[in-house]
Amino acid sequence: MKKKITFLLNSETRSIEVESGDILLDVLRDKLGIKTPKIGCDMGDCGSCTVMLDGKTVKSCLVLALEVEGQEVTTLEGLMKDGMTPLQQTFHDFNSFQCGFCTPGMVLSATELINKNPKPNRKEIQEALSGNLCRCTGYIPIIEAVEDLIGKGKGEGKEKG
């Protein structure tokens, strides 16, 4: 069953025809050219496909494209319209990635956390990022980048930068 959906993608109205079985992640990547959400496990376990739906992070591999009709989808492309966000800059400063596959999801999850809770402690940061798996860094540089951004870090990353 083909159906046309209209939704806000990174503040722009987009309309596209999709099949009922089309997954949001695949539509974003293959039909709309949005490549920061990655296909990892494709089963909702790894977090690399994370996008924001009406301001809340979701696993886009577990959302039907049809479900986002009339809603607002934000990906990393949408956050960095004016260049890198301060959070991305601290990720850069702290070497918070190696292969980079998990990074878009990590940045979105951390962004949601800081929007909700501007001064999270380490435990809260760990908890908020627990749905995003990283196989390179061991997580410490990622957590330190978030702590640095909110002014709780040791500020070492920038000097090393």
Binding site: M1, G44, T50, L62, E127, G131
Partner: protein
């Protein structure tokens, strides 16, 4: 990966139309958060002809506390539960359970009603609703029906829901006296991992206890023998040791990819001991804060 099954998608705006759709089609599936359903569609374990997305039914998105009863609507996500003041203040055990469900990205989407409709043996909401003796409220073209949680779970992924019925909400009676609760969940890592064993406990001011285990049988279950052994007694170390000996009579864990039955049995005892102590401490106002992990 897209879904191979071809289905029709509906997003009704009235509950009556939603019920019409599911009663007039033998092979209809309800979609709320979709965090289980989409996986099942991708894997081909769900093959519906129509999918009825109920997210436009705003009446189902309410958390309400009135007449000493908590209503959790079918569209209430675990994030909604965590952000609710009434949950945090009056039902801290519901809050504690919600906090252990997967991760933020899942909790933003997944609903408690969806959790009990999926009815996998390791579900987080199962032991919780068992100790609160909650009811599942369903509606069909024939009217409304209230199903006690003890009659809801029939087996692995099987519930008492009949064709044409839609779960509208869960109702949880507020305990008639002071309680302390505790939820202990064992997983391999934080995040999306499913529970290997879970146990929910409620200790009442009159030394009554309610205990329910999950992931150690096809359905969540109340530990009736342990409850009757402990009821009316003040908890002490000796009693806990005796109660632990009853656990093998209550549960029947299996070996699977996540843990062996021996490990599950061992950990059920450890978790019961820590959980009951914490529940009683919380009842007395000096336990760990809700949300602190005991394993």
């Amino acid at each position: 990966m897209s879904i191979l099954q071809d289905f029709d998608y509906f997003k009704p705006t009235t509950i009556e139309f939603a019920i019409d759709l599911i009663s007039n089609n033998k092979n209809a599936t309800i979609l709320a958060g979709g965090t289980d359903l989409i996986v099942n569609l991708k894997e081909g374990t769900a093959t519906p002809e129509i999918v009825v997305d109920i997210k436009s039914l705003k009446d189902l998105k309410k958390i309400e506390f009135k007449d000493n009863c908590l209503i959790i609507g079918a569209l209430v996500t675990f994030t909604d539960l965590l952000e609710s003041v009434v949950i945090k203040e009056k039902f801290p055990l519901v809050w504690e359970v919600s906090k252990t469900v997967a991760s933020v990205g899942i909790r933003n989407r997944a609903t408690m009603v969806g959790n009990i409709c999926s009815a996998v043996p390791c579900l987080d909401s199962g032991p919780l609703l068992c100790v609160y003796e909650a009811d599942v409220n369903v509606r069909s073209s024939k009217g409304k029906r209230k199903i006690p949680i003890k009659d809801w779970f029939l087996g692995n992924k099987k519930t008492a829901l009949k064709h044409g019925e839609l779960v509208t909400h869960i109702s949880i009676p507020f305990p008639n006296q002071k309680t302390g609760g505790c939820y202990v969940r064992l997983g391999r890592y934080c995040g999306e991992d499913l529970a290997q064993v879970n146990v929910a406990l409620l200790a009442f001011a009159n030394n009554a206890y309610r205990i329910a285990f999950g992931a150690v049988a096809p359905t969540p279950l109340r530990a009736n023998k342990i409850e009757s052994f402990l009821n009316g007694k003040k908890i002490n170390d000796h009693l806990i040791e005796q109660a632990k000996e009853l656990i093998p009579d209550e549960i029947s864990p299996i070996t699977d990819i996540r843990a062996t039955k021996e490990y599950r049995m061992h950990m059920a005892k450890v978790m019961f001991e820590r959980g009951i102590k914490t529940a009683v401490e919380r009842l007395n106002g000096d336990g760990l804060e809700y949300g602190e992990s005991l394993v």
